[in-house]
């Protein structure tokens, strides 16, 4: 007869407390999850759900904003872009109001006239309409229109 009784103990044993262990692991997962969500919210949305202020909004709360840093959105006014060694300066419009932007740093690839942009920075003073920007972000629209590269270009650059 083989010595199975030495090798295998066949006496009944109590089942391990899987439910209790599972509960603690569940609580652990939920805690980690809550912390991860809070970390993401604190980065993104806890201070403001809006990523930027429009020019109208910024002008109406001009005194409150003062020279604080915030993000401002508007459309780049055509024929006002001046590329400088530090970056670019241009006029930005929103509604019937306009702001002069002096941006430091190189603008994004798609930066051009007549497109919406978001600039991060501050007004030079509480009454000034000059905005010193440290970053330009292009906010492209949701519309996609085909370019026609085969169309004839006039000498002045317009497409026929």
């Amino acid at each position: 007869m083989p010595d199975t009784e030495d090798t295998f103990d066949l006496t009944p044993v109590a089942a391990p407390p899987t439910k209790r262990r599972g509960r603690w692991r569940t609580i652990g997962v939920l805690v980690v999850l809550a912390l991860a969500v809070l970390a993401l919210l604190s980065q993104g949305l806890l201070h403001s759900l809006n990523y930027f202020e429009t020019i109208d909004q910024a002008m109406s709360s001009r005194a409150k904003l003062g020279t604080d840093t915030f993000r401002l959105e508007g459309v780049v006014r055509p024929h006002t872009i001046d590329r400088t060694s530090r970056g670019a300066s241009f006029w930005m419009t929103g509604g019937d109001k306009k702001v002069f932007v002096d941006a430091h740093g190189s603008p994004p690839q798609l930066f051009q006239a007549d497109i919406p942009v978001v600039v991060e920075g501050h007004f030079t003073s509480e009454t000034s309409d000059t905005f010193i920007a440290t970053q330009i972000l292009v906010k492209h629209t949701a519309s996609y229109i085909a370019a026609h590269p085969k169309r004839v270009k006039a000498p002045n650059g317009t497409v026929r």
Binding site: G22, L33, N50, F52, L110, Q135, L137, V138, H140, I145
Partner: protein
Amino acid sequence: MIKQLSQRLLGPVTLALLALTFWLGLWVTPPDRIQGNLVRLLYIHPAIAWVGLYVSFGTSVIASCLYLWKRTRSTIMDRVAYCAMEVSAIFITLTLITGSIWGRPTWGVWWAWDARLTSTAILLVFALGYLALRRANDDPELRARRSAVFAIIAAINVPIDHFSVDWWHTLHQGATVFTQNGNFLVHGSMLWTLFLSLFAFTLLFFWLLRARYRLEVLRDQRYAASLDEALAQRRREGVH
């Protein structure tokens, strides 16, 4: 017969439609007036987001609801919910990656903490949390019930993510296809290629779900067989 045929054709048709999408997207459709050739990401990113945020997450939530409802409760629903959430986690990750690749040359940054991007990142955390929650429980019934409840709670974030571009100011663009007034903002062949990509990636989801579901069934069968084998071995050892 029809079921078998459709199951057999699902893979080849999906691959053919994806190939057609890439051919149209890369070579046939024109560049965009402002974005130029960057617009070609339009045939990948929205379709991946559509599958990750709506189709697969939605399938998981519906299957979870059906599991919690006593009349439709079954292991099948639990498996579908689990497999769909796994696919969702992969596609949400791909959504964030392709979005960053698109964002860098257009916006000028890889990432922005706006409401759309942040809520999508939170949705990914929820999907990963769901998968972690399943691993935390050994009891199959308890695991199925808890994860189903969690999936339904996590689904609250889906409409927040979708409407975030309308409710708040975001750097991310507004809706292109599902606009509030029903107008499409994509023109000509670009629009049809976009629709084709949405359809092709939806088929890809069902193909992946089917493959993942079969894998899960095989895993359960293997587990049951190994359990039977272990019991039989134990009995044999006891007999000696």
